[in-house]
């Protein structure tokens, strides 16, 4: 079966985001960017399924500006076969991305879409669920294990109380949680090979998708800072402070 993975370019997970002084957003100029960690897990999953023989071709898709090609190259270096870049400088919100990915999934006639469960920049956690709705497909979110069983997938999901087991009919959308796998580092030869793999460029217009944002960001601000605390010298002093100063025990 053919698989589509979505990959998003975000501020590197190890960089602390800084709010712009004019309150219009978060500083991204001269900030290290990387593939969203959950998208790495999604890509790794597709590659492992191909290595196991249940997947025949992996198409990586990314929606956004020209720089997203870098993120697609990372996916190709990890093992995706080819890329689709939906190029636009417009702000894209999850509903718009779900519509774009729907067109790509239909165009490419894939049987499975694997996405990260959320992007670590806007923390929406929506795109996979909305894509499944628009396609009328089944969904298995927050996956920590996936097994192909004929026309169905057996999926273990990470839920608030522990783990949940579901079976979803193919075609399906799966979103990856942290424990699904540990993504590989691309080897140098694979990074070189990835430069030769094809990337198609499309636009929202060509796909007939209206990407107008539904949410307008009025202001982005820093959360209230915690006031600096103190260091205590001993456990006894700690317990005394908790009891008599903070009065929480």
């Amino acid at each position: 079966m053919k698989v589509l993975v979505g990959v998003k370019r975000v501020i590197d997970a190890n960089v602390k985001a800084r709010v712009k002084s004019d309150g219009t957003g978060v500083e991204t100029a001269n900030v290290k960017m990387a593939m969203n960690p959950f998208c790495e897990i999604a890509t790794e999953q597709a590659v492992r399924m191909k290595e196991a023989g249940s997947v025949t071709e992996i198409i990586a898709a990314s929606c956004g500006p020209a720089a997203n090609v870098e993120t697609l190259r990372t996916a190709l270096a990890m093992g995706a076969d080819r890329g689709v870049h939906v190029q636009t400088d417009a702000e894209l919100q999850p509903l718009a991305i779900a519509k774009l990915l729907k067109s790509v999934a239909e165009k490419e006639q894939v049987q499975l879409v694997i996405l990260g469960k959320q992007a670590i920049d806007n923390d929406f956690n929506q795109t996979g669920q909305m894509l499944a709705a628009l396609l009328g497909w089944s969904q298995a979110t927050f996956a920590s294990a996936i097994e192909v069983a004929g026309e169905w997938l057996k999926v273990t999901r990470e839920v608030d109380g522990g783990l949940e087991h579901v079976e979803v009919k193919l075609p399906a959308v799966v979103t990856a949680d942290l424990r699904l796998n540990e993504p590989r580092y691309a080897s140098l030869p694979n990074i070189m090979k990835a430069k030769k793999k094809p990337i198609d460029t499309l636009t929202p217009d060509a796909l007939g998708v209206d990407v107008t944002p539904r949410l307008k960001t009025l202001k982005v601000s820093e959360p209230p800072a915690r006031k600096a605390g103190i260091k205590v010298e001993s456990v006894a002093q700690l317990v005394d402070k908790l009891k008599n100063e903070a009065q929480v025990i």
Binding site: T141, I230, V248
Partner: protein
């Protein structure tokens, strides 16, 4: 037009987060107008519907009772919500794994862009939500006719579980879409309070070195009636199950007292606990970022400090 919220339940009784969702829905109603209605979707869920009818501020409970609604399968619940949404301006659910799984699917069926993890309600169309692991707060305005939102439970007080007398109305459930099957759950059994509802939490990180060492934290937890949590590093290392994880993509908590033991304090972990009232950090590395958010920091070897803490707590609690 009114506000509809999704009740989380086990068919018999309500999950505690539901009371917080109810109070958020009431806040929306206060600025947008209309009544607050609750949707109980499940299988043999009359008990949960009766409990929802007692929540203060709820005027109507819609009960959708069908075998296909067991197990909270999004493929079956979302179409029901999307259909009911015709009569509502806002649809509200919790930012739990249930709410986050179902609500965006229902929103997409209604061509609406949902708003996740709402922490503040400023107007019928203006909401505050965290982005970048809570390192920034975004104030957003929705232009959608119907607003779908998940709320962050810790940002809203719980509504009173008693005092309401809503009518219960049966609604025709959508059938089984035939796309998915709920097979079963492996839920962590614990006599301790739930992480998201606990007054005190003690969490362990990579510094705990093994799952067996979490027994030390459990002993302290027993003294304080606390829940036990963990950082991602401790879950990834297999020390404890995934449902212990506190952080950006795990559970967001805001207890009265949060004790972080052997946790360095990655931004992703801080995102899940920095709204706690009092934070204690115990770590042998005095440079650990966790100390920047801690009210009380103790630079010490946790294997000495935690057993000592157990003894000192005993003394302090006896003096009460």
């Amino acid at each position: 037009m009114s506000i509809l919220f999704l009740v989380e339940h086990d068919n018999e009784s309500l999950k505690s987060v539901t009371l917080r969702v109810a109070s958020a829905a009431a806040k929306v109603a206060a600025v947008a107008g209309g009544e607050v209605h609750a949707l109980v979707a499940g299988s043999n869920c009359a008990g949960a519907a009766a409990a929802a009818a007692k929540i203060a501020g709820v005027s109507k409970v819609l009960k959708a009772d069908a075998p296909a609604l067991a197990g909270n399968l999004a493929e079956n619940v979302a179409p029901l919500i999307a259909k009911l949404a015709a009569n509502y301006t806002h649809v509200v659910a919790a930012s739990t794994t249930v709410g986050k799984n179902i609500l965006p699917r229902a929103a997409a069926l209604s061509d609406s862009q949902p708003i996740s993890e709402v922490m503040g309600i400023e107007a019928a169309d203006i909401f505050v939500r965290p982005i970048y692991a809570g390192n920034a707060l975004a104030r957003v305005q929705s232009s959608d006719a119907k607003k779908f939102m998940t709320i962050r439970g810790t940002a809203f007080e719980a509504a009173a579980a008693d005092g309401g007398s809503a009518t219960i109305e049966d609604v025709a459930p959508a059938g089984d879409a035939g796309l998915s099957k709920y097979i079963g759950s492996e839920l962590t059994k614990s006599a301790r309070p739930e992480l998201t509802a606990a007054r005190v939490i003690i969490s362990g990180g990579r510094g705990m070195q093994s799952g067996d060492n979490f027994v030390m934290l459990e002993r302290v937890a027993d003294k304080l009636n606390a829940a036990v949590g963990a950082s991602r590093a401790a879950v990834d290392a297999g020390f404890v199950p995934n449902d212990y994880q506190v952080g950006q993509t795990g559970k967001v908590v805001a207890p009265e007292l949060y004790i972080a033991v052997g946790i360095s304090g990655a931004i992703q972990h801080l995102a899940g606990m920095k709204d706690s009232k009092v934070i204690v950090a115990i770590n042998k590395d005095e440079e650990a970022p966790i100390f920047q958010v801690a009210d009380y920091g103790l630079v010490a070897d946790l294997f000495k400090a935690v057993p000592e803490l157990e003894v000192e707590l005993d003394k302090a609690l006896q003096q009460k």
